[in-house]
């Protein structure tokens, strides 16, 4: 099963979470161009993946019953990992992760404010399964994964989880508070250097009255949280910014009646979405996420992708297509030029190693030690990425997870490796082919071989295969060659 198509694999690692051997073959048959089209149109691919939870043949979830991803955050984490492993819409899931980082919102603070079950619901509930159709934030990110960025920001500004996380729910006339407005300017759109302190003040006034409503008692399972515009709490005065708000160049949002005041926020978000700094910032973030973290995005990439974003009216489908069709993405130097995030490492390892009898529940604690707990970014800036993932503690945590996974799969791996039992070389070849690390140089390759040969003469017995295949998979999964994708 020598690998046929390095570019398809590159694409599957970046646009998705890697591929199982079967998936890889199917996508290689289909070709990258058609696969990109398919990934960019997730709604045209059926999405039954949640129905597979608990079914044989799929990665497991906790044995706890009932499995309650709409009200227990740990079950929601498992369901998300399950989706990453098995979805047929990998790019939608990848973009949901991108937006989770971009609009980083942490469950912990929300649980403190709303209680744990309600916090899990506003973070992760599927509306179709919720008694009052609460839409969890991650469902918003899935829905708008490849949608219009301006519309996404508007939805985020009205999202119950965000209204709690950045305290918008208590932003009132007269004494506005700045949390949401500052991060909207600094992190969600323009970036530091493109706005002033006065812009923060004006921005916080814009969103006065964008509050959170609760229907029902806090502890009821069907308590409902939703955005509510409170006209009485809106600051109706004019607000001036250091950048144009309207096409004509005007920098001032006019004074409006309280009833019409919600338009202030729409006008500001529209201006922020259309600002060149936002286009460039998104282009840079997409470059780091999909292309390379080793170098800053080249100017022509930023111009091309940022330009596509602006010309398309903030359409992420067109923008992300421009990323994947860029020469930078296809360049040989962008292969394996990105450090895998912990969840990417975990999911790819599961997809490439196998999952018979393995539960994503076993990944939750290791992910915390690796530095990435889903629904719990460390702060509104999201996770520190790139080399920051590789502290000593996190490297050990990756190795420990790899050991757990390899140990759990050792019987299946032995059976699959039995065709390659004739020599240590062929066994190493099988493992390197099965997984998709970047090239091992002669030195570390020799070390892998020496490990197979350690402990006695190679006979290729079942017992040797059982131990050494799992051991090899572990060594490859925790090697530096496997930490890049």
């Amino acid at each position: 099963m020598a690998r046929r198509d390095a570019f398809t694999e590159h694409f599957l690692r970046r646009a998705g979470f890697g591929a199982s051997p079967d998936e890889r073959e199917a996508y290689e048959d289909q070709g990258v161009a058609a696969t990109l089209d398919e990934f960019l149109a997730p709604d045209s691919t059926p999405d039954p993946v949640d129905q597979y939870i608990g079914q044989p043949g799929f990665v497991g979830v906790t044995a706890r019953t009932p499995f309650s991803p709409n009200s227990l955050i740990n079950d929601a984490r498992q369901r998300w990992l399950f989706r990453m492993v098995h979805t047929r819409r990998p790019l939608q899931e990848k973009m949901a992760l991108f937006w989770h980082q971009h609009f980083a919102t942490a469950y912990g603070k929300i649980a403190g404010a709303l209680g744990a079950p309600a916090a899990a619901r506003v973070m992760a509930a599927k509306p179709s399964e919720d008694p009052v159709r609460q839409r969890g934030q991650i469902e918003l990110f899935r829905q708008y994964a490849l949608g219009n960025f301006r519309d996404l920001v508007i939805e985020v500004a009205r999202d119950p989880a965000m209204l709690v996380w950045l305290d918008g729910r208590s932003n009132v006339r007269g004494r506005p508070q700045e949390n949401f407005a500052r991060e909207l300017l600094e992190l969600f759109t323009l970036g530091v250097g493109h706005f002033t302190e006065d812009d923060v003040t004006s921005g916080s006034r814009v969103f006065t009255g964008w509050n959170l409503a609760r229907v029902g008692n806090r502890d009821d399972p069907d308590v409902q949280y939703s955005f509510a515009y409170n006209a009485n709490q809106h600051d109706t005065g004019a607000k001036t910014f250091s950048f144009p708000i309207y096409g004509g160049g005007s920098r001032t949002i006019p004074a409006r009646s309280a009833q019409e005041g919600q338009q202030d926020g729409l006008d500001l978000i529209n201006a922020l979405a259309a600002h060149p700094a936002t286009a460039e910032r998104l282009a840079r973030q997409l470059y780091a996420f999909f292309v390379s973290e080793l170098t800053a995005a080249p100017a022509d990439f930023v111009a091309n992708v940022g330009g596509t974003y602006l010309r398309s009216g903030f359409d992420m489908r067109a923008t992300v297509r421009a990323v994947f069709e860029s020469p930078d993405f296809a360049a040989p130097w962008s292969m394996y030029a990105r450090y895998s995030w912990p969840v990417e490492f975990v999911v790819r390892a599961i997809k490439e190693t196998g999952w018979a009898g393995f539960s994503v529940n076993s990944a939750l604690a290791p992910l915390v030690s690796m530095g990435q707990q889903l629904f719990e970014p460390p702060h509104v800036g999201g996770w520190r990425r790139g080399p920051a993932w590789f502290s000593t503690g996190a490297v050990l945590a990756r190795a420990s997870f790899a050991a757990t996974l390899a140990q759990s799969q050792r019987t299946a791996l032995r059976d699959q490796a039995s065709r390659y039992r004739q020599s240590p070389q062929s066994l190493v070849g099988f493992v390197l082919d099965r997984l998709t690390p970047t090239r091992f140089e002669d030195g570390p390759y020799a070390d892998l071989l020496a490990y197979v040969q350690a402990g006695g003469e190679w006979t290729g017995s079942d017992a040797q295969l059982l131990t050494k295949t799992a051991g090899l998979v572990h060594l490859v999964l925790c090697s530096s060659e496997y930490q890049v994708a």
Binding site: N179, E197, V380, T467, H474
Partner: protein, 421 residues
């Protein structure tokens, strides 16, 4: 042999060369040095500490008029006297343990620390405090530069981050600092046991020792992994330490327990990093309620720090230990409509240790928003800094670490009046 390769941080802006000099034989050297090692513990309050709730100007009427619901009542503060401007100050009522250590002269409080044109961004602000370079806050941290300047090869445990990652403060161009969030969890697992596990571990050690040609991003990971393996046994030895008292179960308490264990075990670490979060109190700050947000922060801080100081004092180790606390900014003077405070400018630093010259340093500003009030900035909204935070760093570098602050800070920030050590 040192592994040296460039690694690339966020956005590819800063290029670091990290070296995890990993040889295990250095551990004996480190142990031999351990007895005389001075330890510096950097304590970061993440989110921007509202210093006006921690150190309360309880005789300033503007403090109460501008904070109608969240001011700490004068009747509840722990009075600690007046600063040299004659302004009376009191600690937050939950800081009872710290007050006790203040009374015995082990706590220095430096008011209004900051820098010109304070950034109100958490991330830029943190980078500035970490690098001590307000103009260009990229590149290595101020303590990373200190570690880089130590005689090479640096011992792999010369620094120790109790967080899951190595903070920029401790990032150097040359020396890499391990992140050890849990002493017990710091192990290398294999899928097999016995002889095969030993073989697997040896193989891993060899694989990580290679320097992938022209692939520095892989070499960086290998260097980190080598450092992890090289420090396992010494970190495990810290797990055997028994403190003289029970630490709180909070993250801060347990991190400080590990630091005390490392100091007591004499593993030779010079610089520790400890962080505690939750200080971004935009809403429902409630410093007075028994379950209020800020009361909780002060409880975590006081219980953890007090246990640490008492434990080290009990074991005769406090004289070789210095804690320096900072936060990326202070908060607005006036409360917002959410009973919280927004991002501000100057804040307060604490220095705690057996050799600290305790007391109040700096002066409290008048808090009235009059345009001519020199202590405020941002139209009277924020505290203007009085002591450049780099002056505190300079004192720590010169008088505690015994290094050249002018070289490490890229300028002379020594302040003669800042006799905190």
């Amino acid at each position: 042999m040192a592994v040296s390769r460039r690694a690339f941080l966020e956005g590819g802006i800063a290029a670091f060369t990290w070296s995890f000099a990993a040889p295990g034989f250095l551990s004996d050297l480190a142990r031999a040095q351990g007895a005389s090692t001075r330890s510096l513990v950097v304590l970061y309050l993440g989110g921007g500490n509202d210093s006006l709730s921690m150190l309360v100007p309880y005789t300033d009427p503007a403090y109460y008029s501008r904070r109608p619901t969240i001011a700490v009542p004068a009747s509840t503060v722990l009075q600690i006297g007046s600063d040299r401007a004659g302004r009376s100050l009191g600690l937050h009522p939950r800081l009872t343990g710290l007050k006790g250590h203040f009374d015995t002269g082990r706590v220095a409080i430096v008011q209004r620390t900051g820098y010109p044109e304070s950034s109100r961004s958490h991330f830029l602000g943190t980078d500035i405090w970490s690098t001590a370079a307000p103009g260009a806050p990229a590149g290595p941290g101020w303590l990373g530069r200190y570690l880089d300047a130590l005689p090479a090869p640096a011992d792999p445990l010369v620094g120790w981050s109790t967080s899951r990652e190595t903070p920029r403060t401790l990032m150097g161009d040359v020396v890499g600092v391990p992140a050890i969030p849990s002493v017990e969890g710091y192990t290398f697992a294999t899928p097999s046991t016995g002889a095969d596990a030993a073989a697997a571990r040896q193989a891993a050690q060899r694989i990580f020792s290679h320097v992938p040609v022209n692939r520095p991003h892989l070499a960086f990971v290998n260097g980190t992994a080598q450092a992890a393996l090289a420090t396992l046994s010494r970190v495990a030895s810290v797990a055997g330490d028994r403190p003289s008292l029970t630490y709180p179960t909070t993250g801060l308490g347990q991190a400080l327990r590990a630091v005390a264990g490392a100091i007591a075990t004499g593993v030779g670490t010079k610089v520790f990093w400890v962080a505690t979060g939750g200080y971004d109190t935009h809403a429902a700050q409630n410093p007075n309620g028994a379950n209020g947000a800020y009361m909780g922060l002060m409880a975590t801080l006081d219980d953890g720090l007090t246990a640490f100081v008492s434990d080290l004092a009990n074991r005769g180790l406090l004289d070789q230990t210095l804690v320096v606390q900072f936060s990326e900014f202070g908060r607005r003077i006036a409360e917002n409509g959410s009973q919280g405070t927004d991002h501000g400018a100057a804040s307060t630093m604490l220095l705690v240790g057996g050799r600290v010259r305790g007391g109040l340093y700096g002066t409290a500003a008048r808090l009235d928003a009059a345009p001519d009030n020199p202590g405020l900035e941002n139209n009277g909204g924020d505290l203007r800094f009085e002591t450049d935070f780099r002056s505190v760093y300079a004192t720590v570098i010169e008088r505690w670490l015994g290094a050249d602050s002018v070289r490490l800070l890229g300028g002379d920030f020594r302040a003669p009046g800042l006799d905190v050590l």
